[in-house]
Symmetry: C2
Subunit: 723 residues, 2 copies
């Protein structure tokens, strides 16, 4: 995690928003802020986008507010009671030793618990939430590290506000509301009487989880996931991508480091997709990342779509540039003026270019690794054709490849369709899309899009060719697939042990672990390991024969990283000339003779892919509803469903807006929530995902009416709450 | 080209330098500026780095000064006399029709001529140079397009000054110095009596070169190179990379578009190098392109090396960022803070990462495509090791791969060596390098470098691991290969027909051209073409059977693009079941039976590589001199030589500085040039290239003394003028 414990943050001037964060006056109706004033505790209050997880909080507030943030766990044991444990963001809390640290006894079995009785949303469970614990059933426990920081910043009952106070004032506040906190010193080692804890008595304590000793007597740590996918999806996701070594959080908010384990997935996607587009005549190239203001702003709708998120370079060294230049948010405006130079004759058509690069969109919605980051990797294809039909064909060829990437590589089912006018690419003619579904959050997500740009950009950038019948304005397409696809894959397939990788994009498909015993050394096992290795030649394999880690540690490590198949090779296997195979997806284990290994593993890899795709499809289809009446619409959304409705027309932007607004208000009403919480409300609104290409057959009888306007329906439209 | 004819540029405030360009007062000793004042012609004078070609001029001045620039050709025909033809930068002048446009008669055969009689350097041949034509032998001819621009900006006798005047004032100036200009209207079509010119009488004239008609009656243009490698190396290079479709100039000065023809070369380099580093355990990853000010500036020498060239993002949309963030000039400062998180135990070593990305260095030296651009593509490898020896081994493994890329892929010989203290990577321990030589310009060029960083960065970013003997500070390396390699390849191998591509990196290795005649259609030839194609399966081939281009056009096109082998398939070949093979490198042609084709082509591709490498090595070795006395040093440099000298020590930075300074002054003296022209002088100075790993055997007898200091020599050092 990125926040150094003693880091001192910048303070904003009152009322001046920076990157969406502003210092504000206390709101009268917030009891925490009122109490702080009443107690005359000096504090600074910030308003900002809703940040319900410590990760999102660090992203949005990280370098903009004062003080260390807190990570908060609300835990319950039936006998011992409830604890609100507040630690520094980079603290990993070992649940096994925590009871000892809290003096709660060894038998204690903490579980994450519901926060309803505190009257706040999950993300707003902070030390301040204790103010709502009127029955005083919760013990607050603070990480001693927090008290070393000068200021502590955390939410006052709502996730779109934060308040900074000095750490001593925080303790004083808790005292005054009758919740004198316990202070936990994580730097002290604690001993479990079971004897599995380290025998070292040093207090170095850099590693927060309890170290174990393997057979070689070296320390190792079994670092399992804390959060569960079912109870804390956002926390689970953050943990999975960190612990599997896919993502590291860098120093710049909203920018993430793709470590080899995720970049390896991207390379496999690249390799497949790159070969496919080359087959259909697309050439790779590289255009500069910079674009002049003039070129960027030439197309009105386009610039309106991207301008608020554009990063501007204004200075080099100590010198101001004559004119600021933008970093590409996408490259239409960089490429098409060049197309105008290159395309002279109809013989120069079609032109089909692609580049693999990063683009920058400086968004203020809170970022999520892979799904929404300020810099992300993608490919962007750009083509020009003689006719609209050819352009349409190109768009659909690419959409088919995107569908294949999701379904046949990532094992994620997608729905192919066309975006409505409201949701199409800014400046284009029409946008086709593949849409996926994340069961864990109950939300839809756009997988990749392929745009028919019509002649609009060609007209603006003066792309014209000579043809036999005079001047011709080419028809253009653009299309992009991003590293978001990796995030979707993680969210769809991961489980409470960690990542589950689809075999076709797993950087390692099979990990081979020799089981070394006293009576059976690595040398003894080596001949069999070699046999297994050569049986699997051609697959992406790794032999993990590191002497310093126990088999248990390795199992956990590779499970967390989602390797599809583990092969154990032990003494018993030597006798039988066999190996033991374990599948990550379902834990199925079997003993396989070495002679059959190649065939079995190859078949299993295929079967694992099919199983994953089947499971994901089942999870999505369970949440797919066809609805013809408005009355059934919001209830279906509330059940996390994708909703297919008869619709009066994808051009009807006004009606689409109305559905969005009305669905939001109705959802709020159903939840008994306050309409004022606009941010939550926005995420409750229904959005059109697409007009699916695969339409139910029963529509064109003429009598079906739009579920919203009651006019004759022209198509079935897919709706959902979405990312 | 990038400068629109009617574009209005920004005017600088007097005395205020922008990106190295400043408005200045006229210098008294410049006769052109004196004459302008005398004639009371309003003008603005700029000082800037030396820009001797219109391309470099556009780079440095493009968007910073007022007015359209000029491209100038000094032409001579023995009978007709000399013409100074000044056109807009984007004008392609067809030498065949130019005499007609100038009214110089059809028999006229213009050649580029020497400018010595004008008393200016080649780059300073502009309309103003006519002031030195006291015998009035030169006719000045101006492109009518120039007169449509409000202002014209060009050099007043020296390449580091430019002056803007209104276009009418330019004509008036020329009048007054007795050189009333001819105005050439390139938009008019001209007819050659030979009848090969277009019969169209329209005056659209978008295409500046005279169109021909092929058999199908469609217009086509044989667009040969204008400049020669021997007479105008910079102009030749700019033409080769444009006409071969490798490079397009974008809208941002110093940033270039890599079109598929150059990106294809890069992809082949990537493919080979990427596989090789993966074999030695390097994993690919991706770090964000942004770096905080704090991280960037943590290492003092490092920041000093890069800070002046760093591009800063200060704004997103309309919002100022709290703190400016830099775009990576290289990623040591981005990656190593993360290394500190990941490396906990000696078991985590070695760590070997690489990324393929672009970096930004906003230099003000005038940029050259591939060789020096503000954004460029590269790979950057970063590793951490337990011992110095392992780090050294890593550095040399990579250097060997770089040597292979140059010699075995690009057919460019390189000298492997170690940089002196003065020239090593800022912040590192020592730098190893591969150095190439460009015979066309007589300059050396750094090919790629591999650095042993020692423990310096690890200490700064707190990278420390636990080992059995306590804390250990890892030894680090970093290494990079850029798209500069493509520029070196073009400069070394290209000829006056265009590019010559080494077979192993040619995107197309063999182009097959069916020779269609009236009596022999494409359909007739198809079976033989198919046979040739299948014989060559596995190679990168292209069949150019476009019906609208003549074989002559195709020959020129693919020659300009440097395809190693052309195979012609015509009616005679059908009879003999054979094909005709032509080698780009030496024009050798031979008839080959289809049955032998695969073997012959494969052998020829290898032989072409060997031939290219041999030629390049011979050209370099002809300019390689061993020198032991100072007296022979500058004369050798003046002969464009790489000079190997006994040297008293690569740590002696002071002596190295002295050699640089003294060699510059002596070279100026020898050339009879003015020491004031600092920019030229800098490029005359000798630089150390490296201490070659392959040292002559006769040094360690103890008695050899340093060629400069006279102290005992410790090594042989390679010097040269360099890029």
């Amino acid at each position: 995690m990125r926040v150094a414990k003693t880091q001192k943050f910048h303070v904003l001037e009152a009322g001046r928003a920076k990157d969406g964060v502003a210092v504000i006056e206390d709101e009268a109706d917030n009891v925490v802020l009122a109490k702080l004033r009443e107690l005359k505790i000096a504090h600074t209050t910030y308003a900002h986008p809703e940040v319900p997880t410590v990760e999102s909080m660090m992203e949005v507030l990280g370098d903009r507010v004062e003080g260390v943030l807190t990570k908060n766990l609300l835990l319950k044991d039936k006998k011992v009671g409830s604890f609100l444990v507040c630690v520094t963001p980079d603290r990993t809390v070992d649940m096994k030793t925590l009871p000892l640290r809290l003096g709660a006894g060894e038998k204690c079995n903490f579980r994450l618990t519901d926060c309803h009785f505190l009257g706040v949303a999950k993300g707003a469970v902070t030390p301040y939430a204790a103010i709502n614990d009127i029955d005083n059933v919760v013990t607050v426990a603070l990480d001693a590290e927090l008290l070393k920081a000068k200021f502590v910043t955390t939410h006052p009952l709502r996730c779109d506000r934060s308040v900074s106070v000095s750490s001593s004032d925080l303790v004083s506040f808790l005292d005054q509301i009758g919740h004198e906190p316990k202070i936990i010193d994580f730097s002290k080692e604690v001993k479990k009487s079971s004897g599995s804890a380290s025998s070292s008595s040093s207090a170095a304590g850099k590693k927060p989880t309890a170290p174990l000793r393997n057979k070689k007597g070296t320390k190792e740590t079994l670092d399992r996931l804390l959060a569960t996918k079912e109870e804390d999806f956002a926390g689970w996701y953050a943990e999975v991508i960190s612990k599997s070594e896919m993502i590291e959080y860098g120093k710049i908010s909203g920018c993430y480091i793709l470590r080899p384990w995720s970049f390896g997935v991207w390379e496999l996607i690249q390799k497949w997709f790159d070969a496919k587009i080359k087959e259909i005549g697309v050439d790779n190239c590289y255009f500069p990342m910079f674009v002049t203001k003039g070129a960027l702003e030439a197309e009105e709708d386009h610039v309106e779509g991207f301008a608020p998120e554009v990063a501007w370079v204004t200075r080099s060294g100590q010198t101001d540039l004559t004119e600021p230049i933008a970093i590409r948010p996408t490259s239409e405006t960089i490429m098409y003026p060049e197309f105008a130079k290159w395309l002279r004759s109809h013989r120069d058509l079609p032109l089909k270019l692609n580049q693999w690069c990063s683009v920058v969109r400086w968004e203020f919605k809170y970022p999520t690794p892979f799904l929404r980051s300020r810099e992300f990797l993608w490919q962007e294809g750009h083509t020009a054709h003689a006719t609209l039909e050819e352009a349409d064909e190109m768009v659909l060829d690419i959409l088919a490849l995107y569908g294949y990437v999701y379904e046949e590589l990532l094992a994620v089912p997608v729905i192919r369709g066309t975006k409505t006018e409201k949701e199409k690419f800014a400046g284009g003619l029409r946008t086709s899309t593949v849409e996926a579904y994340i069961a864990g959050s109950g939300r839809a997500i756009q997988g990749a899009t392929s745009h028919n740009l019509g002649q609009n950009f060609a007209k603006i950038y003066d792309v014209r060719v000579e043809s036999e019948s005079g001047k011709l304005i080419p028809w253009q397409t653009s299309w992009g697939l991003t590293t978001r696809s990796i995030g979707v894959m993680v969210m769809v397939h991961g489980d409470n042990q960690g990542l589950v990788l689809p075999p076709r994009v797993a950087p390692i498909q099979v990990v081979i672990i020799p089981l070394v015993y006293k009576t059976c050394t690595l040398d003894d096992l080596a001949p069999l390991v070699k046999k297994v290795e050569s049986a699997l030649r051609g697959l992406r394999i790794r032999v993990d024969d590191r002497p310093n880690y126990s088999p248990g540690w390795k199992y956990n490590h590779w499970e967390q990283k989602g390797v599809p198949i583990r092969i154990e090779v032990g003494p018993r296997d030597m006798e039988g000339n066999q190996a033991t195979l374990a599948r990550r997806v379902d834990g199925v284990k079997k003993v396989v003779p070495v002679a059959d290994l190649a065939a079995v593993v190859n078949e299993d890899l295929d079967d694992i892919h099919r199983t994953m795709f089947r499971n994901a499809t089942a999870a999505r289809d369970a949440k797919f509803k066809q609805v013809t009446e408005w009355a059934d619409f919001v209830p279906a959304l509330d059940q996390d469903c994708l909703v297919l409705t008869p619709w009066c027309g994808p051009e009807n932007q006004r009606a689409e807006e109305d559905v969005k607004e009305k669905s939001k208000l109705e959802a709020l009403q159903r939840a008994g929530m306050d309409a004022e919480d606009v941010r939550t409300a926005t995420s409750l609104a229904a959005k059109t995902l697409c007009i699916p290409h695969d339409q139910p057959t029963d529509l064109p009888d003429g009598s079906t009416t739009c579920f919203f306007t009651g006019k004759p329906a022209t198509c079935w439209c897919l709706w959902g709450r979405s990312y």
